[in-house]
């Protein structure tokens, strides 16, 4: 990991342990944590990976993903990755201005009609993270002559509020022929495709899953060392110790799969296969890790009074978002089959494609 990334994670970790405790996370379920957002925005986190020229921090995509992973270990109830890595990316690559505040991105379900000088947006953008509070939604919309990017306020459409199982806002916005001002739309850059955004979204969630598992593992190990039954800490029972070992294995697997994809990005590749593998493996780990963490916590983990659910409900939600394991496994399988027998081995072992294991940056 680069020194720069270390430094960044250090700062973020300190900031979040101060400002993003369980009380803040709990209170954010159903209301927008404006104070917390102000703190992270002042530190430049949401737009870390956006070009400096566009008002961002100029960090790499992989840097920003490790920040998102670390934030997830605090269950930070904010659209950190969505703002810079998805919406910010769409806007800057199209040469549009990146406003301040939380941003949302949509790349399916919306079309654009250009006639004369007018640009009109119609369709439904589904389940936008924090759509209701976004200062702008960056929409990748299909037009007669290709893809366009539009920057639009949520209030220009009809907002249907919703949330995922963790209580994070997932709002749908319906546009009924909304006219977009001249400076707020442009043709999408060539490298911006729906598939590429699917991949970004998936890797963002995989990284967040890895961060949340890391934190859940820590909580669970600490709890097992403290909770006494039958006159000893429950960690002394081998049945418990073995579950903790499996939990640590899931944590390692999820983080390794994410690291591999980050390394591909750092190496300047699109990392399509690594991203698919990361989402599949992190998704699997999410299920097993949540199960073990709950089992070891006993009844206290089944309450909202204990903070474990901040992490595990997010694990369950994120597992399905931006493509479930089934979806990504099918894509990966198709690619491997198309590449053919000989290529598969290279796909798995080629060292220029993989990375040395890097210590996980996500700790609490």
């Amino acid at each position: 990991m680069s020194d720069h990334r270390h430094l960044l994670l250090d700062t973020v970790g300190r900031m979040l342990s101060e400002c993003c405790g369980p009380d803040v996370v709990g209170a954010a379920e159903g209301s927008w944590p404006a104070d917390l957002w102000r703190v992270v925005e002042a530190a430049g986190l949401p737009l870390a990976a956006v070009d400096e020229a566009a008002g961002g921090g100029g960090a790499t995509v992989a840097d920003a993903l490790t920040v998102a992973r670390l934030a997830a270990s605090y269950a930070a109830p904010l659209p950190l990755g969505e703002t810079g890595l998805l919406a910010g990316h769409l806007l800057t690559t199209a040469g549009l201005a990146v406003p301040s505040g939380p941003l949302a991105a949509a790349w399916t379900g919306v079309e654009v009609r250009l006639d004369g000088g007018r640009c009109v947006l119609s369709g439904r953008a589904d389940r936008l993270p924090w759509g209701r509070v976004a200062s702008r939604i960056a929409v990748l919309a299909e037009g007669a002559d290709g893809l366009h990017v539009c920057s639009v306020e949520p209030s220009a459409g009809t907002v249907e509020v919703g949330s995922n199982v963790a209580g994070e806002p997932r709002d749908s916005v319906v546009f009924h022929g909304v006219e977009i001002a001249a400076g707020d739309h442009a043709r999408a850059a060539a490298e911006v495709t729906r598939a590429a955004l699917d991949g970004r979204g998936a890797l963002l969630r995989a990284a967040q899953i890895a961060g949340a598992i890391t934190a859940a593992t820590r909580l669970t190990v600490i709890y097992a060392g403290e909770r006494q039954q039958f006159g000893r800490p429950i960690a002394k029972f081998q049945a418990v110790g073995q579950q903790l070992a499996l939990l640590a294995a899931e944590e390692a697997a999820a983080n390794a799969a994410v690291e591999l994809a980050l390394a591909a990005l750092d190496a300047g590749r699109d990392g399509v296969d690594e991203i698919a593998a990361a989402k599949v493996r992190a998704g699997e780990a999410a299920g097993s890790a949540a199960e073990i963490a709950h089992q070891v916590h006993g009844a206290i983990g089944f309450t909202r009074e204990h903070r474990l659910h901040h992490l595990t409900r997010r694990l369950w939600a994120w597992r399905d978002e931006y493509g479930s394991e089934a979806i990504w496994a099918r894509r990966l399988g198709e690619r491997a089959l198309t590449a053919g027998g000989n290529a598969t081995w290279t796909m798995i072992t080629d060292t220029s494609r993989s990375a040395a294991p890097v210590a996980s940056g996500a700790t609490t």
Binding site: S163, V165, Q229, G231, I234, Q295, A299, T303, D320, S324
Partner: protein, 382 residues
Amino acid sequence: MFFGDTEEEAQFRAEVRTWLEATLPTLPWPEPAGLEDRLVFFRQWQSLVHEAGYAGLSWPAEYGGRGASLGLQAVFAEELDRAGAPDRVNGIGEGFAGMTIIEHGTDAHKSRFLAPILRGEEIWCQLFSEPGAGSDLAGLQCRAERDGDGYRITGQKVWTSRGQIADWAILLARTSGKRHDGITYFLFPMKQEGVTIRPLTQITGDAEFNEVFLENAFVPDECILGRVGDGWRLAKATLGYERVVIATGRMNIQKWLGELMELVRESGQGEDPAVRARVADLWGRALVHRLNGARALTQLGTGAPGPESSVGKLFMTPLASDIADFALELGGLDARVAPGAEMQGDGRWQRMSYMARGMAIAGGTTQIQKNIVAERVLGLPR
């Protein structure tokens, strides 16, 4: 073993089905989500069940039950599941407090407590677990001190399901310091000064279980079940009944599986071999679960539940979570509903997934059940 209905069972099934078809629509559906409102709904339902003579089906006829054979009990449970009958709010009363009173209570206990349970008039809860005594239940600290012709109870209980609507509790408290022999089993009146209840919000968002603080709460001598100091033996009997209730399908496995099959068809994924393999696996396990249930009931027919009921619970728990999680996977983003929507429509899979996690903990955790099987079924050294 013969798994079809006998002539008697087939006749009973038809009778129950007709009765349910006529009766269920008379209830003021939908079943309310909140516990207090559900209680009202439950009472209406239970009085219909009672009038029709189906309350306490498994209880001996002399205690107002029907003394029905095991086969008929299974048929009744299956038909309730099939028809989507209301939640059995008083499961603790009917399923474990009542059964323990029938087995260990005096005639006075039986005539005082059993009928109101069957009529749905008195709701029961279980005051066993404490903050420091979960798996290690015998480590409980709640004190019972002699006072005139009864005891004063002081201590804290926790995870008390439905304590906020309960009239009575089965309570374990310490009458002396001896680990097992110091525990006494009380039938404890909840509605009194000295009982403070604080609902705890569960991960599901409902507050079904509670912390219960007891401060000099009074329980008269005639409410001791069994002898003073014999509570641990009776508690084990209750826990056995609890596991039977869990193992014989409080979670309506057959019904869930049917709904899962519907979901597969609707989702258009029924051609996918991976999906077919998983459904077939779950179907096979559900069948085994049903047979396990029948076995646990057979055991009950010959006396108190044996440690075999632990096997039923061990088998049931992952089955329930696998069915729920598979349904959630098939349903995709629509299936994982927002907090608060778990009681409605498709939210039920989310709810079941949560409940399965709770099931792996309540009534003795999975690890504790395995210890019981190792020690008491297999006779391995402790």
